[in-house]
Amino acid sequence: MTAATTTPTVEEWVRSFTDASDRDPEIQAHGKYFTCGYLLDMADHHFVVRMTSGKVAELAIDPGPLDVGYQFAIRAGAETWRGFGTEVPAPMFHGIWAATFRRDMKLEGDVLVLMQNLRCITRQIELLRTVGVPV
């Protein structure tokens, strides 16, 4: 799979992200306890990803304020996410720690849950390098 050269529609992105995660060898090898819900806030769109035992159980598109619960949030502007959605990200767009220290990314909510699932979340966010971002 190669990096998206055009911006995928929201529906295309949800399908490709779900498929990439559910088929990813690392997440499937190590995701037995990868069960949590988190918000991906990309400014122009936001998503709640609900994981159960390493599989995407639900991916809510632009849910209303109280529609879907989640434990932590990863928020950044569209420009930052576009940096993540390239095959070889430029410096400071190459991970959530880098972008939190040096860009506008914010890690909010119950960050302990993020830390408990850090290995799989890190890999899942890296999948954006191949599936792109819908913003």
Partner: protein, 286 residues
Amino acid sequence: MPRISPVTGHYVTVDVDDVQYKVFYLENGTGQPLLCQHTAGCHNHQWRGLLEDEEITADHRVIAYDLPRHGKSDPPENTEWWKEEYQLTAEHYTKFIVALCDELELEQPIFMGSSFGGNVALQLALRYPERFRAVIPVEAADYSPGFYLDWWQHPHANAAQVCASGVWDLMAPQSPEADRWKTWFYYSQGSEAFKGDLYFYSVDHDLRDKLDQIDGDRCPVVMLTGTYDYLTTPEDGRRTAGQIRNGEFIEMEDIGHFPMSENHEVFRRYLLQALDRIGSRAGAQA
């Protein structure tokens, strides 16, 4: 023929103040001693590429040790260390390195370290300039706040994975995946020391008003920083070197905070430049 590496391992006993350590080190090569410090929470396998680099070991005795509490170097032999919180200080860290040099009878070694090893290289240049031919601070800066975090030892999370995946972004996406995963693997082994190391890295180490006291003529300072390092960026390295008398800075493209471990082939090109500037390679002018 058995495929045995020329790298050998030894233990040496080192006394620092009233503390005794049994220190493990790997070495290979002959000539100018090149003493190498791993990064916080890690161990000397980060230098595996350098230790077997024939061009550099041809005229350098490369020594990569495990700092006490890391790798195969145990915590203190003669204290009840388990009754105290580990917090590494600049004073103890620099004293240890000088004591190790004494014990190994190293004459004017070049000291090279990365991250908290780079920061201590700056501390050595400030405190013991007469003891080192030069220092090579890699991924270092005058000040590096923000990484002394409780997450490294939080009992409700898997500390091994938090440490290993927490430093993953410090590496460049261009670095070979297998080498990045080896570095990840090393980091899964060192969580108990990591936070205490970072007390030095992010709290005790602060040279913002002391850089002008480093005599870069007496002890040359050649700094190297990768473009993907989000903790100490190339701008931080350049600023730091710029305030040291005759301090030099080399920016390393497409590499991160663990250059020797994540991509030795790229790192060595810049290291050779640094050694050329120091003049330690055969035929090079000092």
